[in-house]
């Protein structure tokens, strides 16, 4: 039932099994067969073209499943573009795109997509809005038209805006009851301060003050061909895909001024200690965090591998320690989050009340250890192969390829990064891992957020600093 919960709970990364310390790490059973020779890393061909209006189009033809996937990624349109009074606005904007266009109402859009065997919907991230569409291969043309229709001509009907606002307010109430939501919101604020990256969740005031006028104005500012990328993957020929893109987006023009560019995020922050009160909670939700780096920074490659070793999978150090050795948690993780203008270092786990303090000690011990001692050759090799395997496994899915390309582009990485990533990871040395770990996972730089019952865990936290107890 490990995997089972993954279907229910978004973001539950850890669902399952084992790794131990009582076995020397390098030991493998003599009877177990060796890995066979690795096959060469396939790098997909990416056809690239820029339309005359500035829209970039990347096409990855595939021969598998009879489906075509499309992602229209729009840069500087995400949470970082939201004004201070409207944190989280980008999500409302994205959500309303397929709730009505100049030609169709929301039901007609949903039914049209259903009839093509697919869907069209948008979501927001820190650095952009991505409109995703997919359809049966035979329906690629009509779906491209529908994608363009919702991205270019949303009408933000009054009734849909009112409904979206009412539902967003209710959804916020639901989210507030989830400890992970509160923990993430608080650690982001601690890390990024006043930068927009620190304020990506909505407030009731922001939702209530959203109007049709604001939505229309922001759509015009944010949705612009010269700031957008269209990725097309699947059972379609490159030339055909390009024709569809030209037909649906070739005459797309921006009007009026664009949103301002997002400033660089802070690289340092004074650590804070927060205990978010949750009376009666049977677990503490922990987050440790500090400023990190942008996705294009020089340290990004060694930092990605360091994150994998320290907290990126079942066999990562913090998961082995907190789950498999101590039995404190269902899963523990830690690592870097890389955005366009900055990033963060975040670790976290849900642990039972009695071991809240002890879990923090284990976290900091692992942070210190990886910043002090060189990772063994075998552990380096294991995690490099884990990264390479992840590349192969996600590339077999055409939707994942489309999403990865779009997400990379939003944070400033080129199309070629897809194929360069694994070879670059393979070059990382143990010294580089130690050095970036020391730099970014230094325990004294980490803010600590605990969502839990202060009566049950407050005493244990005293050893880790003065905690401000708050309801938010």
């Amino acid at each position: 039932m490990k995997q089972l919960m993954l279907t229910m709970i978004v973001g539950a990364l850890f669902a399952h099994s084992a790794q131990a310390a009582d076995v020397p790490k390098e030991t493998m059973p003599a009877a177990m067969p060796a890995y066979a020779k690795d096959k060469p890393l396939p790098v997909p061909h990416i056809g690239k073209k820029t339309l005359s209006n500035g829209l970039q189009v990347w096409i990855v033809p595939r021969t598998g499943i009879p489906r075509v996937d499309m992602v229209l990624a729009v840069r500087d349109a995400g949470f970082a573009a939201d004004d201070a009074k409207h944190p989280g606005f980008a999500e409302l904007l994205a959500g309303l795109l397929n709730e009505g266009t100049a030609k169709r109402d929301s039901r007609a859009i949903a039914e049209a997509a259903q009839g093509m065997g697919g869907s069209v919907a948008a979501g927001a991230s820190a650095d952009g809005i991505s409109v995703q569409a997919s359809a049966l291969a035979s329906q690629a043309g009509p779906m491209m038209q529908l994608l363009a229709e919702v991205a270019r001509t949303p009408s933000f009907p009054d009734n849909e805006v009112a409904l979206a606002k009412a539902n967003a307010l209710q959804t916020l109430r639901v989210s507030e009851t989830q400890p992970r939501f509160r923990a993430e919101r608080a650690i982001s604020r601690a890390i990024y301060g006043d930068h927009p990256y620190g304020h990506m969740t909505p407030t009731a005031e922001a939702i209530e003050s959203t109007t049709q006028e604001l939505l229309r104005g922001e759509h015009a500012k944010r949705f612009r061909p010269e700031r957008a990328l269209l990725v097309i993957t699947g059972r379609i020929k490159e030339a055909d895909a390009l024709k569809l893109a030209q037909k649906a987006f070739g005459d797309w023009k921006a009007s009026g001024p664009a949103t301002a560019e997002v400033p660089k995020a802070t690289a340092t922050a004074k650590p804070v200690h927060l205990l978010l009160e949750r009376g009666g909670s049977v677990q503490s939700t922990l987050r440790l965090g500090s400023p990190g780096i942008a996705a294009t920074s020089a340290d990004q490659i060694p930092l990605r591998l360091t994150s994998t070793i320290l907290g990126g999978g079942f066999s990562s150090r913090v998961n082995i320690k907190l789950r498999e050795e101590k039995g404190y948690t269902y899963g523990a993780s830690a690592g870097a989050r890389l955005l366009r203008e900055g990033g963060s270092i975040v670790g976290g786990a849900d642990v039972r009340n009695e071991v809240t303090g002890a879990a923090l000690t284990e976290y900091f011990n692992e942070y210190k250890r990886i910043g002090a001692d060189l990772v063994s050759a075998d552990e380096m090799k294991m995690h490099k192969r884990y990264v390479a395997g992840g590349y192969l496994l996600s590339n077999q899915m055409q939707r994942a390829v489309a999403n990865t390309l779009a997400a990379n582009w939003l944070v400033g990485l080129p199309a070629e990064f897809l194929g360069q990533y694994v070879p670059l990871i393979e070059k990382v040395t143990p010294e580089q891992v130690r050095d970036v770990a020391k730099k970014y996972f230094a325990p004294e730089n980490q803010s600590i957020v605990v969502v839990g019952d202060s009566k049950a865990v407050g005493e244990q936290l005293k050893a880790y600093g003065d905690f401000t107890v708050t309801d938010k």
Binding site: M8, R67, L136
Partner: protein
């Protein structure tokens, strides 16, 4: 004469067009099945588009067959399968998979427990060796049992006890909706039962249910059937078959009286309702129509429930449907079609039920128009393919279908079953299964703050 032929010609044109469309959207999976002498069934599906494989080992045992005073045992046991063997001590399993570039997981359901790995094909032999190794025996010891009892308790805390709604739409509704213990006990388990599990329980469960003759191994990806069968023989062929206890009869008929309760939720801020109806037995002629009906009613933004409750009356925040914890073709005993939704504080469970009933009644009375039926089926067929794109879920689906249906080729039959469903079928199953008498309802309300 000419005029009379015109419609026929037009029909011919449209037929050939739809035939062309059908061809370009068609996708048939290669399925090869072989049974080893020890009873292990092996399924191989070849696909060389990526140098990777998916592996699934499905054991035909789940929550329904766990011991009576050991609720949650099947799931606890699943965790223990990762805790090492005399040949591969604790830690080796994950390290070998990770070091091979792979991912692994497991899950427990009422009718089966699955163990899944996906990795570059260079890791296939170590994966098969590890799976065969833990099919033979485990390292039964008190330390790993205690460790995983703690981990499972944390899993239940994080997913049930510390969460608003706490999974009531799959845990509590099954407890209420079914009569027999096999179907209605808490498969996640009580802490008391989990703590009471002994090493003897672990040994007995492994001996009884984890033999090769109670398992299916499926491999999908960069491998030929001949290679797959040879490797299965090499690693699993020497494991002797073991007797499997005869399970109890857990069948039960449809409910004849509505069940309804109200629950209080200390962690929730917004009320929610879950409604479950018992569905047709596996293999029934009503199964595919029920699947299409569930999609028509609760499958996404175009569905009747979404359009009537989230849109339309605007009484719900969201609404979603499902078949217990599996899909409409992946259950082997009594299961519920469950609809779950958060409703607005100024609405009520009664309003939600009335809205659902209204949509169901429309289907019973008028069926569904041809255009809508076609749309719904098109999306279902596309989704069926989408779920099989990932070679891991492909292997896992094949292993589950072979386990539950005794026939992995069902993977290529389901599209035809869906295609064959008519409006009259939907009317029949809506009238038979989605009745008030067969309905179980939980109204979950935020606790009143003192």
């Amino acid at each position: 004469m000419r005029l009379r032929y015109l419609p026929a010609l037009l029909a011919g044109v449209s037929l050939s067009l739809s035939a062309a469309a059908a061809t370009s959207d068609q996708w048939t999976l290669p399925v090869n099945v072989k049974k080893l002498d020890n009873g292990l069934t092996v399924v191989v599906s070849e696909d060389h588009s990526s140098p990777t494989v998916g592996v699934s080992v499905v054991y035909h045992v789940g929550m329904r067959l766990e011991p009576r005073n050991r609720t949650g045992f099947a799931h606890l046991f699943e965790h223990l399968m990762f805790q090492g063997t005399p040949n591969a001590p604790k830690g080796v399993f994950d390290r070998a998979i990770t070091g091979g570039g792979g991912r692994n997981n497991g899950s427990t359901r009422p009718d089966f427990t699955n163990y899944i790995e996906t990795a570059p094909v260079s890791s296939l032999e170590p994966i098969l060796w590890l799976e065969a190794d833990r099919m033979k025996t485990l390292d039964f010891n008190p330390a790993t049992l205690k460790n995983q009892q703690d981990v499972v308790k944390e899993e239940i805390r994080v997913n049930v006890k510390n969460q608003p709604y706490g999974g009531f739409y799959w845990l509590d509704i099954s407890q209420l909706g079914f009569q027999k213990w096999e179907n209605n006990h808490d498969g996640y388990g009580s802490f008391e039962d989990l703590e009471g599990a002994s090493l003897d329980d672990v040994r007995a469960f492994h001996r009884d249910y984890y033999g090769p003759n109670n398992a299916v191994l499926a491999i999908a990806g960069d491998i030929s059937p001949a290679q797959g069968f040879a490797l299965a023989q090499k690693y699993f062929g020497g494991i002797p078959a073991r007797p499997v206890p005869k399970g109890s009869d857990f069948t039960e008929g449809l409910n004849t009286q509505e069940k309804r309760i109200e629950q209080s939720d200390a962690l929730a801020q917004v009320p929610a309702v879950a409604v479950g109806w018992k569905v047709p037995d596996q293999g029934s002629a009503d199964q595919a129509p029920m699947a299409v009906l569930s999609e028509l009613l609760a499958g996404g933004d175009a569905s009747l429930f979404y359009q009537s409750m989230v849109k339309g009356r605007e009484i719900a925040l969201n609404v979603q449907g499902g078949f217990g914890l599996t899909g409409p073709f992946e259950y082997g005993g009594p299961t519920l079609f469950t609809v779950f939704g958060l409703y607005k504080p100024n609405s009520s469970a009664d309003a939600m039920l009335a809205s659902m009933d209204e949509q169901i009644a429309k289907v019973v009375k008028d069926g569904v128009d041809a255009a809508t039926l076609k749309r719904v089926k098109t999306r279902m067929l596309a989704d069926w393919n989408n779920d099989l794109e990932n070679i891991l879920s492909r292997a896992d689906t094949l292993a589950k279908l072979q386990t539950l249906w005794g026939d992995a080729h069902v993977v290529n039959k389901v599209p035809g079953w869906i295609e064959g469903v008519t409006s009259a079928d939907l009317q029949r199953v809506a009238a038979t299964y989605l009745t008030k008498a067969n309905r179980t309802v939980i109204d979950r309300k935020p606790a009143v703050k003192k």
